[in-house]
């Protein structure tokens, strides 16, 4: 009797020890010397396989093995990795999270050591420069362009001479293209699209240490968008039952949209839609577009895999490899030379490359992301609302965030 009781107690304690053992065992899979883990936010199988193939090619030369993990929620999985002391050796770092990560000391500033550090586009280098240090290497980039459904364009009796080059011709074309079932122009109601018009009007959000969000130029940009919407020639994708601009274009619900090279992705769902990309029309302040980009992040405490990861980045950002990525999943190479080759190889995407000359990055200092999220949510009140009020609120919050970012 007595020994039986003690026996079950021993079993119970053993079970606890087993549980504890399980909890402790899984953590250090990526700790090995020449084994690297890459965490990517993949657009699909094509991208995952291309990255894995490139990594394998590098690994063979360098006596290492690389595991590519496609994250289902990159931000969350990165945070979890860093908090658990088990960050991936290399990962996609998006432009909007970059400053937050850099400010909190998550990132190794390796980019200046790269032999090809000078080959990248200047504005991409600026995006990934924190506190004066070029921190991580941009892996590719996208710009926004005006995508036109060529069938609807021809059906409306428009020709190449009508391709919008300024705000007036954009409005005219949108008006001509608007019919009962189709709206002339569509893009998401968010800073990542409307900010382009604010910049085209000559505005910007941050000038050095000062926030200039409530400038007359920014207001002019928003009012232009308001006017188009009031006239009924512009509708947000949600209003015409589309998840995003590409879907609106593909389904023929919108004749023109503002999207990036990823528009190629609609070919699967809408193989019969013919479209062509052009540079965005210029506003009163000249031409402007946004550039969106990711960089290859290396964790600050990379340990013994750090140098290997840097060498892998050098391989992945090489012109040859970037052009292969472009082949596989359509991104634009981040170096000027490779991008030029890309524009020759893919003339349909040449306008996106041309946009890179004057593109700016959306505002991305540490702490700006939550302010931009708030701006996006306030923009939902833009139609029939007070554009100046929205900008004033943005001015106040963004200045507060900038002061805090500079104060530290």
């Amino acid at each position: 009797m007595r020994s039986k009781t003690w026996g079950s107690a021993a079993v119970a304690i053993g079970a606890v020890a087993l549980l504890a053992g399980c909890a402790g065992g899984g953590g250090d899979a990526s700790g090995g010397g020449n084994e690297l883990t890459i965490l990517i936010g993949s657009s699909g199988d094509a991208e995952t396989q291309a990255v894995q193939a490139a990594a394998d090619a590098w690994a063979e030369e360098n006596d290492a093995s690389v595991e590519v993990v496609a994250a289902s929620d990159l931000t969350q999985q990165l945070s979890q990795g860093f908090a658990g002391g088990d960050a991936p050796d290399l990962f996609y770092m998006s432009w909007d999270q970059f400053a937050n990560y850099a400010q909190n000391g998550y990132l190794d500033a390796y980019a200046e050591e790269l032999p090809n550090a000078g080959d990248f586009y200047g504005n991409l280098v600026d995006t990934f420069t924190y506190d004066g240090t070029f921190t991580c290497a941009p892996k590719d980039f996208s710009t926004l362009g005006l995508i036109i459904n060529t069938d609807l364009w021809a059906a409306a009796g428009l020709t190449d001479a009508d391709i919008p080059t300024d705000w007036a011709s954009l409005e005219a074309a949108a008006t001509r293209l608007t019919t009962g079932d189709t709206v002339g122009l569509s893009f998401g109601l968010e800073y990542a699209r409307l900010g382009v018009f604010m910049n085209q009007a000559g505005g910007q959000l941050v000038d050095g240490d000062t926030v200039t969000a409530d400038s007359p130029e920014n207001l002019e940009g928003l009012q232009y968008v308001q006017r188009l919407h009031d006239a009924g020639v512009l509708k947000w994708p949600t209003e015409i039952d589309a998840g995003w601009g590409g879907e609106a274009l593909g389904a023929g619900k919108a004749a023109m949209v503002i999207e990036g090279p990823w528009i190629k992705g609609i070919e699967g769902d809408f193989p019969d839609t013919n479209y062509q990309a052009y540079e965005l029309p210029a506003g009163p302040g000249g031409q402007s577009t946004f550039t969106f980009t990711n960089c290859w992040g290396i964790p600050a405490d990379g340990g013994d895999t750090r140098d290997l990861a840097v060498s892998l980045v050098e391989y992945l950002t090489g012109d040859e490899q970037q052009l292969e990525f472009a082949d596989a999943f359509g991104v634009i190479p981040s170096t000027e030379a490779a991008a030029a080759t890309y524009a020759e190889n893919y003339p349909e995407n040449a306008s996106f490359v041309a946009g890179a000359d004057y593109a700016v990055s959306p505002v991305n200092f540490a702490g700006s992301a939550s302010v931009i999220t708030d701006f996006n949510s306030q923009l939902s009140g833009l139609v029939g609302g007070d554009a100046q009020g929205i900008l004033s609120s943005l001015q106040e919050d963004l200045q507060a965030a900038l002061d805090e970012a500079n104060g530290e």
């Binding site: 009781t5 003690w6 107690a9 119970a12 304690i13 079970a15 606890v16 549980l19 504890a20 931000t75 969350q76 945070s79 860093f82 908090a83 002391g85 999270q97 937050n100 990560y101 909190n104 000391g105 998550y106 947000w236 949600t238 209003e239 039952d241 600050a300 702490g367 992301a369 939550s370 302010v371 708030d374 949510s377 306030q378 939902s380 009140g381 919050d397 507060a400 965030a401």
Partner: protein, 352 residues
Amino acid sequence: MARGIRGPEGRYGWAFVTPAMVIIGVFLVLPILLALYVSFSDWNGLGSPLGNSRPVGGENYANVLVESGLAQRDFGTAIRNNLYYVLLVVPLQTALALFLAVQVNNRLLKARGFFRTAFYFPSVTSSVAITTIFIFLFASSGAINQVLAWFGAAGPNWFADPNGIFSPVTGGLTADGPLGLTWAAWLSGPSVAMCVLIILAVFTTSGTFMLLFLAALQNVGTEIEEAASVDGAGSLRRFFSVTLPMLKPTLFTVLTLGLIGTWQVFDQIYLTGGGAPGKTTLTPAFLAYDTSFSELQWGEGAAISFILFGIIVALTLFQRWVLRDRDLGRSGERRARRAEARLRREAEGARS
């Protein structure tokens, strides 16, 4: 320690509860204490909080509660949204659950088993699946709007409509209210998008609570109901004066569980776009997640969680006080004395 004939029983007792205590301690108590510490620290999510952070006092709490700015406004918005969610979901789901339970408890109802299963079904289905289906149903050209169109009504663009349902009435109130929001924002009611989530919550959870009510109803003996009928009580009177008071313990359980569940709503928010449209479906639970994981302000995120914890505890205590047993305690005695006096008066009145 007295050692009687039972020997060292205490030792066995400890031996048996130790595994449970160790598990609860390691997986529950320690993490909560650590989170409490994080809410008072500047931990940025890099490595373990112990050794990689320093205490900053109540700064995280001050950021969301008193210092005016975006963090405070977001928190205020989240509380506002969730408050409307709780105010509508808890009474509706409790009433619906009770109604359904009474119906399927009815002996005259045919195919009771079928109805019980049907009403319980949404509760066993994953909330992710149901939310996804709701997103399709309430799309701007989805099934709901098409049905409305048969009746000539133009349905709203449900998940993209940030207007509060009372905002046409409250739009003029520009005075500042608590937590950085204007009174207009506080009183504008849940947005159209939030109303869809409210319907969803009522639909999915009332089945669970129906089960609790059903179990309680089956404990109410038929003889009590028969006695009430003999005394001349109609069916409504019988329900409100006899059945419902007997369900009070269950009612308390249902309200408490409902309150806790609704203040912690997260998955529906995550799936419908993290607060979109216009932050009108943002809730404290999602805000805590977003603040921690996206903005790397782990201290502030933890602080929001603990404020939420405080709100839930306070409201549960309040509800316990409202539903307390009125026959007990000093107020119970007072009530009993008054009832006795009334009976006496009436008896004397009848005699004279």
